[in-house]
C-alpha cells in the first residue's frame, strides 16, 4: 500500500476560508468569551509545552483501549454465539434491545456505586458503550454468513474448532472490523463525555477544567480540536486495517 499523502487543495482552501471567517468574527466582537483560531493554536502550543497534552491524550487513550478491549472480548464471542443459536437470540434479543438505547452516561450513578469515582468507572462506561454495539454487530455478522459457506463446511466434515477457524471467522471478520471501527468511534465519544463528569484527567476533563478554573475557552476549543483530530486518526487507522488483504475479499467494490 503506497503511503503517499494526497494533499488536495480544495478542502484545505475551504478550511482556510472558514478559519479566516472565524477569526474575523472574533475580531469584530472583542471582549467576549469565544476564542479565535489564533488563540486556540497558542493554547495548543501551551499544552504541548507543559506536557499536559501528552498526559491527557495518554489518559484518554488508555481508558478507551481498556474499555474497548473488554467490550470486544466479551461482546464479540457472546454475539457470535447468540447469533448462531436461534433460541438464545429469541430469548436475549428483547433485553438487548432495551439496554442498547440507554446512554452509557446514564450508567454513571451505577458505575460510581460499583467502582467509585475514577478510572475504573470511566473504563466501565466505555465498556458499556462498546459492549452492545459489538454484540449486535457480531450477531448480525453471523446472520449474514451465506448459507453456502456453512453447507460447504458441513460437507467437508470439519470439526467444530476447524469450522470456527476456517469458515466462521473469515466469513464474519470483514463485518466485525467495520463494526469495530464504528464502535471505536463511539468509545471515543463516550470517553470524552465520561471524563467531563466522572474523572480528573484526560481530554474531556481538560475541557471541563479549563472552563471551570478561569473560563479559559481557548483551552476548551483547543481540547475540542485535539479530540476531533485524534478521533479522526483512530478512524483512519481502523480503515487501513479494513484494507488488509485477508479482509478484502468481502468488499467486492472499493
Amino acid at each position: 500500500m503506497r503511503l503517499k499523502l494526497h494533499v488536495q487543495p480544495r478542502p484545505l482552501l475551504f478550511i482556510g476560508v472558514l478559519l479566516i471567517c472565524w477569526q474575523i468574527a472574533i475580531n469584530r466582537h472583542p471582549g467576549q468569551l469565544l476564542p479565535g483560531p489564533l488563540s486556540v493554536l497558542r493554547a495548543i502550543g501551551d499544552l504541548m509545552h507543559s506536557g499536559l497534552l501528552l498526559k491527557y491524550i495518554v489518559a484518554s487513550l488508555f481508558r478507551v483501549t481498556w474499555g474497548f478491549a473488554l467490550g470486544a472480548s466479551l461482546g464479540i464471542p457472546l454475539g457470535l454465539a447468540i447469533g448462531w443459536n436461534r433460541r438464545a437470540e429469541m430469548a436475549l434479543n428483547p433485553l438487548i434491545q432495551i439496554f442498547r438505547p440507554i446512554s452509557p452516561l446514564a450508567w454513571i450513578p451505577v458505575a460510581i456505586l460499583w467502582f467509585g469515582v475514577g478510572d475504573m468507572a470511566a473504563v466501565f462506561l466505555i465498556f458499556v458503550g462498546c459492549f452492545f454495539p459489538l454484540l449486535l454487530t457480531a450477531m448480525s455478522a453471523v446472520h449474514n454468513i451465506p448459507a453456502l459457506y456453512i453447507d460447504a463446511g458441513r460437507n467437508f466434515g470439519l470439526s467444530p474448532f476447524a469450522f470456527v477457524s476456517r469458515v466462521l471467522y473469515p466469513a464474519v471478520a470483514p463485518q466485525l472490523v467495520v463494526g469495530m471501527r464504528i464502535t471505536l468511534g463511539i468509545a471515543w465519544l463516550v470517553v470524552v463525555a465520561a471524563e467531563m463528569i466522572a474523572v480528573n484527567s484526560g481530554l474531556g476533563f481538560l475541557i471541563v477544567d479549563a472552563r471551570n478554573a478561569g473560563n479559559r475557552y481557548d483551552l476548551v476549543v483547543a481540547g475540542m480540536v485535539i479530540i476531533g483530530a485524534i478521533g479522526l486518526l483512530l478512524d483512519l487507522g481502523m480503515r487501513s486495517l479494513e484494507r488488509v488483504k485477508s479482509f478484502r475479499w468481502s468488499y467486492s467494490e472499493d
Binding site: 438505547p101 452516561l105 470524552v192 478512524d235
Partner: protein, 260 residues
C-alpha cells in the same frame, strides 16, 4: 441458524420471558445475598416507578426529553438532508466540505457543552443544540452516501424522459436514495436519544437524564435511577421501532433486505 429444530411460534414469547424472569431472579438474589442497602432489587425499582408515576413528575420528564429530541432532531433533518443531497449531487463540493465534517464528527456533542452554554446559556436551547450536533453529521453523511449510490441508470432514464435538474432530484434521486436516508435518520434518532440523556445530566434541570443524576445526588435513590434507566431504554426502543416500521412502507421497502 444451527438450531436443533425449527423453533415453534410460542417459543417466540416463551424464551424472552424466561430470560427476563431469570435476569430478575438473579438480580433479586444478588441484592439479597450481598445485603446491600443501596442497590435496589427489582421490586424496589417497580415501587420507585409507581412513585414517580403517582407524583406526576414522570410524564413531565419524559415529555421534556422527547420534546428536546424532536426539536433537535427535526432541525438536524431539515438542515442536514438538503445539505447532504447537495453534497451527494456535486462531488466537487463534497470533496471540499467532507474533511471538515470528518474532523467535527468525532467530537462528542458533550464536549461542545461549554460552547453551547456561551452561545445559548444554560437550559433547553443548549440541550437542543447538542442534540442537533449529534444528529446532524450522521444525517448528512447518510444523504451523501445515499445519493452517490443511486445507480446511474436511474439518472440517465430521468434525463431521457426530459426531466430538468430539479425534477430529477425530486422524482428520481430523492426516492432512490430514500432507503439509505431513512437508515441515517433512524441512526441519528438513536444518537439524539443518547445525547439528550447526557445533555440533561449536565446542562439542564429536567428530563430523564436529569432524573437519573438527580435521583442519585439528592438522596441516593438508586431505585429511581434504575427505573429511569429502564424507561430510557424502553422509550429509545419504541422510537427505534417506530422508525423501522417506516422502512416497511411500499415505496421504500425495496431498498431493505428482508431477513426471513
Amino acid at each position: 441458524m444451527n438450531s436443533l429444530s425449527k423453533p415453534r411460534n410460542w417459543e417466540k414469547y416463551f424464551w424472552p420471558v424466561l430470560a427476563a424472569a431469570l435476569l430478575f431472579a438473579i438480580w433479586h438474589y444478588c441484592v439479597v445475598w450481598t445485603g446491600t442497602n443501596i442497590f435496589p432489587s427489582p421490586l424496589d425499582v417497580e415501587k420507585g416507578m409507581a412513585e414517580l408515576l403517582h407524583k406526576g413528575v414522570l410524564w413531565d420528564d419524559i415529555g421534556d426529553s422527547v420534546r428536546r429530541v424532536a426539536v433537535g432532531f427535526g432541525a438536524a433533518a431539515v438542515t442536514g438532508i438538503p445539505l447532504g443531497l447537495t453534497l451527494g449531487l456535486y462531488p466537487a463540493a463534497n470533496q471540499m466540505v467532507n474533511p471538515v465534517l470528518q474532523i467535527l464528527r468525532p467530537i462528542s456533542p458533550i464536549a461542545w457543552i461549554p460552547i453551547a452554554i456561551i452561545l445559548f446559556g444554560v437550559g433547553d436551547r443548549a440541550a437542543v443544540f447538542l442534540i442537533f450536533l449529534g444528529a446532524f453529521f450522521p444525517i448528512v453523511l447518510a444523504c451523501v452516501s445515499g445519493v452517490s449510490s443511486v445507480p446511474s441508470i436511474f439518472q440517465r432514464t430521468g434525463r431521457n424522459f426530459g426531466l430538468s435538474s430539479t425534477q430529477l432530484l425530486a422524482r428520481v434521486v430523492f426516492p432512490a436514495a430514500l432507503p439509505q436516508i431513512l437508515i441515517g435518520l433512524r441512526i441519528a434518532l438513536g444518537i439524539a436519544w443518547v445525547v439528550v440523556v447526557a445533555a440533561e445530566m449536565i446542562a439542564v434541570e429536567s428530563g430523564l437524564g436529569y432524573l437519573v443524576i438527580d435521583s442519585r445526588n439528592s438522596g441516593k435513590r438508586y431505585d429511581l435511577v434504575i427505573a429511569a434507566m429502564l424507561l430510557i431504554g424502553v422509550i429509545g426502543l419504541i422510537l427505534d421501532l417506530g422508525f423501522r416500521s417506516l422502512e416497511g412502507l411500499p415505496s421504500v421497502r425495496w431498498g431493505f433486505r428482508h431477513e426471513s
